[in-house]
């Protein structure tokens, strides 16, 4: 039974690792469409709000994964710190605010 569990674990590990590598490779080589990722959809111009959201997301994800890799985490997934949740919440609020600002300005004028 231990052999069976090991085989299933290896299968899952190989599949997830291969998927991550494949998608990352396609992203880096440009085979996956990333045009307009940081552009405002209405104006087509570069959007700083999108950039800060992307940076916050990558930083938060990287920080949490480093906590997972730390052996001190033990056999449990580490919880996400409250500060990190607040940071991401604030980042999303900023992004949504910048997105809805033209709409609000039009209603005022």
């Amino acid at each position: 039974m231990n052999t069976l569990a090991s085989v299933l674990t290896i299968e899952a590990a190989v599949f997830v690792a291969a998927l991550v590598l494949l998608v990352s490779y396609r992203l880096v080589t440009g085979e996956m469409n990333t045009i307009g990722l940081l552009s405002d959809k209405a104006t087509g111009e570069f959007s700083p709000a999108r950039l800060q959201l992307l940076v916050a997301t990558v930083l938060a994800a990287g920080y949490w994964f480093l906590k997972v890799l730390n052996p001190a985490a033990g056999n449990q997934l580490p919880d996400v710190p409250q500060d990190l949740v607040l940071l991401l919440g604030g980042s999303h609020s900023l992004y949504l605010g910048s997105k809805s600002l033209p709409l609000l300005l039009r209603k005022v004028s």
Binding site: L4, A17, V23, K41, G44, A61, Q76
Partner: protein
Amino acid sequence: MEVLSLVAGWIVAVFVGAAGALILWKLLTNQIKLDKLISEPNGDASLSRFQFLIFTFIVGMGVLVVTLRQSPPAFPEIPVGILALLGISAGSYVVAKGIQVQRDTRFEQIRSDTARAVAEQAVATGVAPNGAAGVATGPLAAVAPASPTDAGTGL
């Protein structure tokens, strides 16, 4: 009974392995295309889809690492904080979609109002609208996209 569960377990292991290998093979040979994995229907890349992709991979790899760390391997409990993180991401996506739809609707309304005003003015003065109907000018141009296709639906 133990033999039966062992046989069933091996059948599942072989099936899962074969399915995983097939999916990876099709991905490698481009039979399953990934080029529009994070794209919206209008062709633009979507930040929220990209964000979901990052979180999915990170959480997936985290679960895998913790599972492999245990002996025997066991599925770990998912903390509430991770669900909150994914909830923020999904909630933001939905709100952004709402804003986008509202903005598109408003632009369309502004455009049709402008077109009607130009047409009425043309009728009143007896001058042809000179092809200006439907184009946002002045303060409207600052927020209205030049064409309906510019108002994409992507986040």
